[in-house]
Amino acid sequence: MSDTAQHVTVGPSPHITSPATCTGIMLWVVAALVPVSVWAVVSMGWVAAQLLVVCIGTALATEAAWSALAKRPGTLTDGSALVTGLLLALSLPPRTPWWMAMVGALVAIGLGKMIFGGLGHNLFNPALVGRAFVTLSWAGVLAGGQWFKTLEASGAGLDAITGATRLGIAAADRVASGGYGFDLAAQYRPLLWQNLEGSLGEISAALLIAGGLLLIVKGIIDWRIPAGYIGTVALISWAFGSDPVFHVLAGGVMIGAFFMATDYVSSPMSKTGRLVYGIGCGLFNGLGRFVGSMPEATTYAILFMNGLAPLIDRMTRPKVFGVVKTRA
């Protein structure tokens, strides 16, 4: 009797838990992004690999260093810094100078997350904070052309467009002449399978969609955010008389909708809230493309909706069982 008692421990109910763990979730996100990353390296070459290594390495190092300095238990194993570093790398153009990528990762983890108290407390998506910091700080270096050019050698039938992204050219053409200088429908294929302009993560919309669907099927992300997001972008493109398919596939919409906007910490909690939030992201991303001055608005659209998330949470609190709704 007494020997059985020895290996018995007590603890509060419930005594069983679901198999989901934080690290597990993060690793699934990483897994969903692996095909895109590998394909980016294969297509773009070692510059892409270098960017991935620098971003992830710096992100992990920053997290570890901060935890050590703040004398808090290390949180490296939860995998969130890995995801942030990976997403940051995927959101940058392949020829981003290494020091810039490093600063981006440092800012993403330091300013985007750790300063707020670490995982779970950041108000904005850390990877996007890092990306916004880098792109705004060194817009000249990044957009000056030298980092985008040179990829035509790999020849994917893109010789016509070098030096700027398709989206940028589409926007410039629209401003100049009210039309497009190239056939948008002809861009579906490269955008889906191998798009050598823009950032690493824009290499293949198809792989991003596959990864996103995997996460939805695994119950890791809520379909409402990407659905609301992509649907709204398509709707706005259509309303502005443009090609919805092109606009959904081009630029950061896919990676934004499936991987950036769905970041748990900086998105709303309730289902309704998530739908509203997804639609909001799509609205500002879509509008930004047509009425804004920047060809790409994904980063700011999501950051803006991150800012609104607590407000959305407040307004979409679940109805408490048995409580009749009264004006609060």
Binding site: S13, H15, S18, L119, V265, V323, V324
Partner: protein, 434 residues
């Protein structure tokens, strides 16, 4: 079998793990060498012993009682000699007064001292010491006496048994459906209801069949989808009747009265045969050599019960009294089975939840508010409680928590959500928050 789509909001579906015992007929556990019968096996005032050390008692004889309204008397489950009266450890981890009985060599478990009382059926239910056998152990007579201004229209019998592992109610419904139905009819007659609905989860087809074979006029069987906590009173009422129990009100406010199937059967026995509550079916399962459904005398020690089931197997981390979602982990196995002990579940390492050190962050994944059957936001309630922001927690309805544990179950960072919420809830209660 038609599964209704009636359901409640939220909930989870943990692995059922009922297959080990669901097909096993109930067998009787032999009389152990001693029985420890606590004086408080119910919610409410504890009983005072009416026997003294050295007294010889007969099976069914009254051991303790108290005059309070919310209470239930305790009876001897065997014939024997009172060897001690004093505090003992119970499954709840507290020490309560108990009467220890040394059983006689010769036992006739078919015979007992029948309860004889003046008065109506309610008095008889009380005298038989019947309490809610689903685990809540609320004295049944109190439930059978709803406030005068509330008319009871429907009696709901809870045969959901939504807790994983447990099969005691299922076996009862399969083996003695007529007692369940009879109990339901008694309850209906006592409270003057029109309708009786017996709710069973879809994972118990045999029970549904058995009940249907004994269905009487005015007794409906409703098959519900399998989802935890389907058997929680408010959730059950909502699933069947579509009515929400108003915040701060009794469930009876919806015109429904919920009793466990085992309680109903016990009420039938009490009213028809004057049989006091002396034994119950306990599912012993998990990491034990011979899992099964056992008819156990109240007062049998868990250690004796596990020994009868072949002992613990392998590396056991926790032994639970009740189901794994709401039951209590036992610090010692030398505690008696009581009226509310529906199961003894031994959880092996790896199956049992791990206690995690330190402050785990909430990653705002949204799983807990989605799972909460009460529409609460466990993550924020737990955070408020952890920061001792009691008012903020109260403002967000911490008091409505039914402690079902789904939030802790689904949390990927394994925050002790329920534990923290309980803190906030008790703080709110002590401040008189309604």
């Amino acid at each position: 079998m038609v599964v209704g789509n009636a359901r409640f909001r939220g909930g989870v579906h943990p692995p059922e793990r009922k297959e080990a015992t669901s097909g096993l007929a109930v067998t009787r556990v032999p009389v152990p060498s001693r029985l420890v019968i606590p004086m408080s096996q119910h919610l409410g005032a504890p009983c005072a012993p009416v026997v003294a050390v050295g007294d010889h008692v007969r099976r069914g004889q009254l051991l303790g009682d108290v005059s309070a309204m919310v209470s239930a008397p305790v009876h001897a489950s065997v014939s024997g000699t009172v060897s001690a009266i004093g505090p003992v450890l119970t499954t709840g981890g507290t020490r309560v007064a108990a009467v220890t009985i040394q059983p006689d060599e010769e036992q006739d478990l078919e015979a007992y001292v029948a309860v004889v009382v003046e008065g109506d059926d309610r008095d008889r239910v009380r005298a038989a010491g019947i309490v809610g056998m689903g685990g809540a152990t609320f004295p049944s007579v109190v439930k059978l006496t709803p406030p005068k201004d509330l008319a009871i229209e429907t009696v709901l019998l809870n045969g959901c048994e939504c807790e994983p592992y447990l099969t005691c109610d299922e076996r009862l419904m399969v083996e003695s459906p007529e007692r369940v139905v009879a109990g339901a009819q008694h309850i209906r007659d006592i409270v003057g209801a029109k309708r009786v609905v017996i709710a069973v989860e879809a994972n118990k087809p045999a029970a549904v069949e058995a009940l249907k074979a004994h269905t009487q006029e005015g007794v409906e069987i409703e098959v519900l989808p399998t989802r935890y906590p389907q058997g929680a009173e408010k959730q059950l009422i909502y699933a069947i009747l579509g009515k929400e129990v108003p915040h701060g009100a009794l469930p009876a406010a919806t015109g429904a009265l919920v009793h466990n199937v085992a309680t109903a059967a016990a009420i039938a026995d009490a009213l028809e045969h004057g049989k006091p509550l002396m034994e119950r079916i306990v599912t012993v399962t998990g990491a034990v050599a011979r899992p099964g459904n056992y008819r156990v005398l109240i007062g049998t020690l868990v250690s004796d019960l596990i020994e009868f089931a072949g002992g613990l197997v392998g590396d056991v981390e926790r032994v639970i009294a009740g189901g794994p979602m709401t039951g209590q982990a036992l610090a010692s196995l030398d505690v008696p089975v009581t009226k509310g002990t529906s199961g003894i579940v031994a959880l092996a390492k790896g199956v049992a939840a791990r206690a995690i050190d330190g402050d785990q962050p909430c990653i705002r994944c949204g799983r807990c508010p989605e799972a909460c059957p009460m529409g609460l936001e466990p993550y924020i309630l737990a955070t408020y409680s952890g920061k001792r922001m009691w008012d903020a927690a109260a403002e967000r309805n911490v008091i409505d928590c039914i402690e079902c544990g789904v939030c802790s179950y689904v949390c990927p960072t394994k925050r002790p959500l329920l534990q923290l919420i309980r803190l906030g809830k008790s703080a709110a209660m002590s401040k008189g928050v309604k």
